[in-house]
């Protein structure tokens, strides 16, 4: 299998990573090299094997529905690129 240039650009769009035409070309070659490695998996018959998502067989813990964190909004927003009145600012999305 090998990725086309259009597929690389499509994936980059899905991942929200801007790529120029020349970057996409370079990336295409590298990704196809990596997929060549990954393709070894396809020769393996895994019918009947339960997929393993995780190293430990855990179920999600539940906790009481109670406030456990202190209000640290100011501290957390101090590292944001742009805030105002406790809100994160982004370019306008609704006209």
């Amino acid at each position: 299998m090998s990725l086309t240039l259009e597929q690389v650009q499509r994936i980059a769009h899905l991942a929200r990573v801007e790529v120029s035409e020349s970057e996409a070309l370079a990336t295409q070659g590298q990704l196809n090299g990596i997929f060549e490695l990954i393709e070894q998996m396809q020769a393996v018959d895994t019918r009947g094997v339960e997929p393993m998502a995780h190293a430990q067989d855990l179920s999600q813990r539940l906790r009481d529905d109670a406030v456990t964190e202190a209000d640290r909004r100011a501290a957390y927003q101090s590292v944001a690129p742009e805030t105002e009145a406790g809100l994160y600012l982004v370019p306008k999305v609704i006209e």
């Binding site: 990725l3 597929q7 690389v8 994936i11 980059a12 769009h13 899905l14 991942a15 929200r16 990573v17 801007e18 790529v19 990336t27 590298q30 990704l31 090299g33 990596i34 997929f35 060549e36 490695l37 990954i38 393709e39 070894q40 998996m41 396809q42 393996v44 895994t46 094997v49 339960e50 997929p51 393993m52 998502a53 995780h54 190293a55 430990q56 855990l58 999600q60 813990r61 906790r63 640290r72 501290a75 957390y76 101090s78 590292v79 944001a80 690129p81 742009e82 994160y88 982004v90 370019p91 999305v93």
Partner: protein
């Protein structure tokens, strides 16, 4: 003093032979002198370090010190530490001063009274095996400054090897503690998945990531592991287990121990001189009373392919949080919101991180999920089952940590696949979630060779015992690079 074990440093602090301020200053001065060339540290803050050292001295004076109170340590820059720049080796977080402590950091600072010397360089978001993907430049291996220290915990490894720190934290998703430990003549341990909290440890591949200690000996690693572990309700996969002392079995004799050698780790693909060093370690173990048995991990050749589906899939999801909105880098110029995301991520991430995000996005996308992601998870099961079988006939598994000694800076950085294959012996351990460690077992042309020990789930104390007994009869781990005195 700088070459002392943590146990010896602890005794020196307890007997007031030295204060934590004096000890920390000793290492800070070495960082000032050696770091400009080695580049092991990204951030050093003398005032913060000395404030912690003074607090530790007060604790020692008040008589409520723990075994590691006042001991300086270097922290991999993947661990959030309140008030410290925490970059994860990325431009994306090059301005991120963490507003909170990772659990590992809180345990070391608040509970153990340890003193952080600074934050160490690393491959960007822990994605790399040479430390060359760091936004802050590559790190030089103190054993040969034209070579890589390994990665992703390469800064931590180089810091200890050049004795800019007596110990360090690392994290290991596919070998990132064990491989640099091997290439820098250190002892490092990746615990069983779930034993060390991942809270505040910047996520790469959440089902594989695990923090652990890097130091000069198995005994030091045991002491550090004691401070790092424990149930944490802030980590959804943290395991609630009874506390244990990982140093309890260090001196246990090895008579009767069954060491398994997987034939897949002793075939072609490994440098012959590296293999010879590992073989002499096996002979040492025979002398120590261990029995050597042959085992097989028939699916281990699939671990690199399966890993390069699973880890990028999880990474593409984890790294979607870096969008220029809540923290970190934001592109200076952009149009609409989508453009802001795309430019921020294009500029904030380096090439390797972007490659892995793209692989992950692809294998999780509609139409490819079953063929890649589910197939990789099924192979992960086969790999884990291989270990279950192997541990029916042996107690620990032994092999090389890496197929070669430290390679040259730039040697593999242009070819991602060659770089990925340098973790061929370490990755299966992460997929299975087992504990593994690397310890020094010799030299090839002046460069350190690491051997890997793999244990069954929760068998860290036994691994440390097996490593410690070896370090009682061999002195490889005490050798120092030229010019480091």
């Amino acid at each position: 003093m700088i070459h002392s074990s943590l146990k010896a440093l602890s005794a020196a602090l307890a007997s007031r032979q030295i204060s934590s301020v004096e000890l920390s200053t000793l290492f800070l001065d070495r960082i000032d002198r050696l770091n400009p060339e080695i580049n092991a540290f990204v951030t050093v803050d003398r005032e913060k370090t000395l404030a912690m050292a003074r607090a530790a001295d007060a604790r020692i004076a008040a008589g409520n010190a723990g075994p590691l109170t006042g001991i300086p340590i270097a922290q991999k820059d993947i661990f959030c530490a309140e008030g410290w720049l925490t970059t994860c080796g990325s431009r994306m977080l090059s301005n991120f001063v963490s507003p909170y402590d990772a659990t590992v950091i809180r345990k070391m600072h608040a509970e153990a009274g340890m003193v952080s010397l600074g934050k160490t360089n690393m491959d960007e978001f822990a994605m790399g095996s040479s430390n060359e993907t760091s936004y802050f430049g590559s790190v030089k291996n103190p054993w040969d400054r034209s070579r890589v220290p390994g990665g992703s915990s390469g800064g931590s490894a180089a810091a200890i090897a050049a004795r800019m720190a007596p110990a360090a934290t690392g994290t290991d998703t596919g070998g990132s503690i064990r491989q640099p430990a091997g290439l820098c003549n250190l002892t490092g341990l990746k615990p069983t998945y779930g034993v060390v909290s991942r809270y505040g440890m910047i996520a790469f591949a959440s089902s594989l990531d695990q923090g652990g200690p890097m130091a000069g000996s198995a005994e030091d690693c045991a002491l550090l592991l004691n401070t790092m572990v424990g149930f944490d309700e802030r980590d959804s996969t943290s395991l609630d287990r009874p506390a244990e002392d990982y140093a309890r079995d260090l001196d246990k004799p090895l008579a009767g121990l069954r060491i398994g050698l997987p034939k897949e780790f002793f075939g072609e693909g490994c440098d012959a001189k590296v293999m010879a060093a590992v073989q002499s370690a096996i002979d040492e173990y025979r002398k120590l009373g261990a029995t050597i048995v042959d085992v097989s991990l028939p699916n281990s050749h699939l671990s690199v392919p399966a890993y390069y589906v699973i880890a990028p899939a999880e990474a593409s999801s984890n790294l979607s949080r870096f969008d220029g909105v809540r923290y970190g880098y934001r592109a200076p110029e952009y149009g609409n919101l989508d453009d802001m995301y795309a430019k921020t991520r294009a500029q904030g991430f380096g090439g390797e991180v972007k490659r892995r995000i793209l692989i992950g996005t692809y294998v999780l996308s509609h139409g490819y999920y079953d063929a890649y992601y589910l197939q990789a998870q099924r192979i992960r099961r086969l790999i884990a089952n291989d270990f279950v079988e192997a541990f029916k006939t042996c107690d620990v598994i032994l092999g090389p940590t890496s197929p070669s000694t430290a390679f040259k800076l730039g040697e593999k950085s242009a070819d991602p696949v060659q770089m990925y294959l340098s973790d061929i012996y370490t990755i299966a351990v992460n997929l299975a979630g087992l504990p593994g460690m690397s310890l020094p077992c010799g030299f090839v042309d002046g460069l350190p060779v690491g051997m890997q020990l793999i244990g069954n789930y929760f068998d860290e104390a036994r691994l440390l015992n097996v490593a410690h007994r070896y370090q009682q009869v061999c002195d490889w781990h005490l050798r120092r690079p030229d010019g480091i005195d």
